[in-house]
């Protein structure tokens, strides 16, 4: 998803993930109406998300940040140890996957911004979503890390996860996406494969400013 600042991309994310209730319209996911459902229910339905300004739990350790997203099943599991061996293994697996497993004991607030972005992604993945919504994954990170994140998204996509990405980095959007939607003033003005959208005059005017 692309579009000028204030065009409603993040608002769309918030409506879908239950952070805000839409004034009108419906949200359905896998044939189920999830309009206005609480965000933990939407997470349970299989949608995970990241935040534009990278939200983590700053005063918890890196490992705890990921463990917090583990989904306990039943009351007994809820009162069981937060550091069960199976969960720790899974959490470490995701930390390794994003490449910050060596920092698991550090407090999250001591990480660099790029590392915090990776940590947020590991937490989202821990909740086992089938659909992952990333709000500006490349915002504020260095070029090498953007490549790393892009590679990770491609890998995870190949494993069967669907990504919806809001991004201003055109190169990244065009290289990652199968389908691009352009937002302007709260509504989609164009959509289609990257090449089609890139050539659309309305898009050029609204967003690319050409």
């Amino acid at each position: 998803m692309i579009g000028p600042n204030g065009s409603g991309k993040t608002t769309f994310f918030n409506c879908v993930t239950g952070m805000i209730r839409p004034d009108s319209g419906t949200v359905s996911y896998r044939g189920r109406d999830v309009t206005g459902k609480a965000s933990h229910r939407i997470a349970a339905a299989g949608i995970g998300r990241s935040f534009q300004l990278c939200r983590i739990f700053p005063r918890m350790t890196v490992l705890e940040n990921v463990l917090a997203a583990a989904r306990p099943r039943g009351i007994a599991a809820l009162l069981g140890s937060a550091r069960g061996a199976a969960e720790i293994d899974r959490a470490r697996g995701w930390l390794h996957r994003v490449g910050i497993d060596h920092l698991e004991g550090a407090e999250a607030r001591d990480l660099s911004y790029g590392q915090q972005k990776l940590l947020e992604l590991a937490g989202v993945l821990m909740a086992e979503p089938e659909t992952i919504m990333l709000d500006e994954p490349a915002g504020g990170v260095n070029p090498a890390l953007i490549d790393r994140i892009a590679a990770l998204v491609r890998e995870l996509n190949a494993e069967g996860r669907t990504f919806i990405v809001v991004e201003h980095n055109m190169e990244l959007v065009m290289s990652l996406s199968d389908h691009v939607v352009v937002f302007d003033r709260g509504r989609p003005i164009a959509e289609g494969p990257p090449d089609t959208v890139r050539a659309d005059p309305a898009v050029l005017e609204a967003y690319l400013g050409v």
Partner: protein, 364 residues
């Protein structure tokens, strides 16, 4: 790793010594005044620890926990005097009643956050104060309610240990409850709520249910503390039971000791409770003891914003041999990392790792 074990061992030693000192204190307390003041301080510790189940874990600062304290005290007292229920059964029943009441109140109050939640909690105390003052026929109003005390044989001259019975009964379940929650997934969820509630919910934590459970547990523990107060002191007055000051003391003690630790509120109660009693003696009938208490709290908040426990731990940490920072890597190591783990993002991130080291140092 070794550092962790050392730290754990030293905290266990501190725990055992502290517990022994507290529980044996009737034996070495020099006079009856100190003894009764000590009981007051320990009651504060119990109440503040109860408050911390919601304040410490979820970060919801209830200034109105005197509601639960008062309801527990009056519930126990009224069950004994109006219904003839045996003392300790009345205490248990009062706890159950408050737990049931706390559910709808929690559902209403926990819908709002931050300052709004604080105000709702204060409003609850004021409403209850008015109800208990006005409903004279039932509660005795401002004439007070005298509760028969079940402890005649437990008073100091006859049984020096007996005086601590209520505190012991109160401390066990709270410590066990805290320990269970602290290490559980439920506890981790609560801490996530404290850090960032919306983020926690987006990761799938059913935040409202979690908050409500913590709220009810905290209210129930506080009510049981209030019930024990009623049984111990035997004299209730709405203006004291439903007082903003009691609720504020619970919060301030917990903040002062450190809300992230089981023993934070206990330590806070020792410091603040002793100070309050000392100021009361020093400044007699004037209100200056409140000013002095306020100054003490201001000093702690200014110099130890996270509470005494983290401040002291930080001080001790500085005296220990320095643990190397997570971000300190030599240039050679960095080179090695880059070579061996070319796909590791932190190596690409190495430019800001030096800044990060500075930042970590400053924070420590």
């Amino acid at each position: 790793m070794r550092n962790v074990f050392e730290r754990r061992a030293s905290s266990w030693v501190a725990l055992v010594v502290g517990a022994a000192a507290l529980l044996s204190f009737p034996l070495w307390s020099p006079n009856p005044y100190i003894l009764s003041a000590g009981i007051v301080v320990l009651s504060y510790a119990v109440l503040s620890t109860s408050w911390n189940f919601v304040g410490g874990f979820t970060g919801y600062m209830s200034l109105g926990h005197a509601s639960w304290f008062g309801l527990g005290a009056y519930g126990t007292g009224l069950l004994i005097t109006r219904a003839g229920v045996p003392s300790f059964l009345a205490l248990g029943l009062a706890g159950v009643i408050v737990a049931v009441l706390a559910v709808p109140i929690g559902i209403a109050a926990l819908r709002v956050r931050g300052a709004s939640f604080v105000i709702v909690s204060i409003a609850l105390v004021l409403v209850l104060l008015l109800v208990f003052q006005s409903w004279r026929d039932f509660t005795g109003g401002s004439d007070g309610l005298v509760v028969p005390r079940p402890f005649p044989d437990l008073l100091p001259p006859r049984a020096p240990h007996g005086v601590l019975l209520p505190v012991r009964r109160a401390a066990g379940p709270r410590a066990a409850g805290w320990w269970t929650i602290d290490r559980s997934r439920f506890g981790l969820g609560l801490k996530a709520i404290r850090e960032d509630e919306d983020k926690a919910q987006s990761l799938g934590v059913p935040t409202f249910a979690y908050k409500l459970v913590a709220f009810v547990v905290s209210a129930t523990f506080t009510a049981l503390g209030g019930g024990l107060y009623a049984l111990w002191f035997g004299d209730l007055d709405p203006i004291f039971q439903f007082s903003i000051l009691i609720g504020s003391y619970m919060v301030l003690m917990a903040l002062l000791g450190g809300v992230r630790h089981l023993f934070g509120p206990v330590l806070g109660a020792l410091v603040v409770g002793v100070a309050i009693e000392y100021f009361k003696v020093s400044y007699g009938d004037t209100q200056f003891h409140l000013v002095a208490t306020g100054l003490l709290l201001a000093a702690v908040v200014l110099f130890m914003p996270d509470g005494v426990i983290p401040a002291v731990a930080g001080l001790l940490g500085r005296l220990r041999p320095q643990q190397s920072s997570i971000r300190e890597v030599t240039a050679a190591e960095l080179l090695e990392q880059n070579r061996t783990a070319a796909d590791r993002p932190d190596s690409t991130d190495s430019t800001d790792s030096t800044n990060g080291a500075d930042r970590a140092e400053v924070r420590r």
